[in-house]
């Protein structure tokens, strides 16, 4: 009864295993999203109108369509159109990278354009080439400014990866559901405790991350 259900059999290990899947999705996605996002952010500062239009378009598509819809589009759409099954975790990572790259790109673009002009001018005056200015002056400073936002994006990914269960990924909530269903007759109040515990687990992971990003933000403000 009560919280005891958590320690019956290997329930707790299974929940942690589910959390591992959640973490895997978030880590892999944020890794690729950061790389692609930096590239995209650089492209977005381009003065070419056509390039800027398509970047804008991509960003708007990602922002307007709910993520769950994107997950469904890729999960069911891919199966239907190419007659092949994609693993739910893979679908999640693909969609999250697609989403994260756009968000990250916008962050990097904002950071790049926020670097003061005199930085670039001083670099030119010192005789650095355009490429050198970019690599040694612009990029390091803007990456620093982007870090809090990137951490926020990561916590959002951890939270959003809960949606993976809706396309059949065996992550922490799905595992919780299985535990609840197997103990339906022995412990009818399991739902309250298991979902409560998962709620706390998410909080324990995300809260330190958001504290950390807030700390970095306030420390680097000036």
């Amino acid at each position: 009864m009560g919280l005891g259900i958590l320690f019956q059999g290997s329930n707790f290990e299974r929940l942690l295993g589910g959390l591992g899947v959640t973490a895997e999705i978030a880590f892999v996605s944020v890794f690729f999203a950061c790389i692609l996002g930096v590239l995209l952010g650089i492209v977005m500062t381009s003065r070419n109108k056509i390039i800027r239009f398509w970047c804008r378009f991509y960003l708007e598509v990602v922002r307007i369509i709910p993520l769950l819809v994107l997950l469904f589009l890729v999960y069911f759409g891919f199966a239907k159109w190419f007659n092949a099954h994609l693993d739910g975790v893979l679908v999640c990572i693909v969609v999250f990278v697609f989403w994260g790259a756009a968000e990250m790109g916008d962050l990097v673009r904002g950071a790049l354009t926020s670097i003061e002009k005199h930085q670039v001018e001083a670099a030119y005056a010192l005789g650095l080439s355009k490429m050198q200015t970019f690599i040694y002056i612009l990029l390091p400073q803007s990456l620093k400014r982007v870090t809090p936002g990137a951490i926020n994006l990561f916590t959002r990914m951890v939270k959003t990866s809960s949606l993976a269960m809706l396309i059949g990924v065996l992550e922490v909530i799905k595992v919780g559901q299985q535990i609840i269903e197997t103990s339906l007759f022995t412990d009818p109040s399991a739902a309250l405790w298991i979902y409560g515990v998962i709620f706390v687990l998410y909080f324990v992971i995300c809260y330190p991350l958001s504290l950390f990003s807030k700390y970095l933000e306030s420390r680097w403000e000036n």
Binding site: P66, L67, K159, P188, Y195
Partner: protein, 219 residues
């Protein structure tokens, strides 16, 4: 693509869209009320409530909506609090949106300059009147774009409520895929109907942002 099927499914999608809008509307109203309350508590440092509000904001910001509604829908029913899916959805969305709205209103309230409140008080307004007629309208205007973005966010998040069997757009699409194997048609209609409700909101937010930026020139 089976156009006949799509045509026949449109009325069901319209019903589902109305439900999505209904969910959005209620959750936006409730989360704005929560947001204003929390922002006032935080900005004016009302003792006793401050800790509670801070805890609420951190809890709501650092947990996914899905587990919040699962806890409400499946968890609470075990201790006798039985709510239907629609109510759970609204409570969950308001719980989530409230903290985002609080952040938006807080930024607005803090952006109103001190001179405004001082001159309002020196004109003989009570502090309540000053808040109601001077501070709040300005703060609201300043935070409008952020509020709009939160509204869009909440409307998108209603898709998660499909997980507790509320027959909104996402649920209907899932239903059609499962029942009739009309994957293409369901996904097509799903995206089209989401765009119909979300695109105007997004365009309107852009318009508000631009208007606010223009209004700031005078200041």
């Amino acid at each position: 693509m089976n156009w006949q099927y799509i045509w026949n499914a449109v009325p069901r999608f319209i019903d589902a869209t109305l439900l999505t809008l209904n969910l959005s509307l209620w959750s936006i109203i409730l989360s704005m009320i929560i947001g204003v309350f929390c922002a006032v508590v935080l900005v004016y440092k009302i003792r006793g409530l401050q800790g509670f509000v801070k805890a609420y904001i951190e809890l709501s910001r650092n947990t996914p909506l899905l587990i919040q509604v699962f806890f409400l829908y499946f968890g609470l029913s075990k201790i006798g609090i039985k709510l239907d899916g629609f109510t759970c959805g609204i409570i969950g969305l308001a719980f989530l949106g409230g903290s985002y709205m609080a952040e938006a209103f807080r930024a607005g309230l803090e952006a109103v300059s001190k001179g405004q409140i001082e001159s309002a008080l020196s004109l003989g307004l009570t502090s309540r009147q000053a808040f109601r007629y001077v501070i709040f309208p300005q703060a609201f205007a300043i935070s409008t774009p952020a509020i709009g973005a939160n509204c869009l966010f909440l409307m998108k998040e209603t898709s998660v409520i499909s997980a507790i069997a509320v027959a909104e757009l996402m649920f209907l699409a899932k239903d059609i895929i499962g029942m009739d194997y009309k994957t293409n048609e369901a996904l097509f209609l799903l995206v089209v109907f989401y765009l119909i409700i979300l695109l105007p909101v997004s365009v309107y937010i852009r318009y508000l942002e631009r208007r606010l930026r223009r209004a700031k020139y005078g200041a």
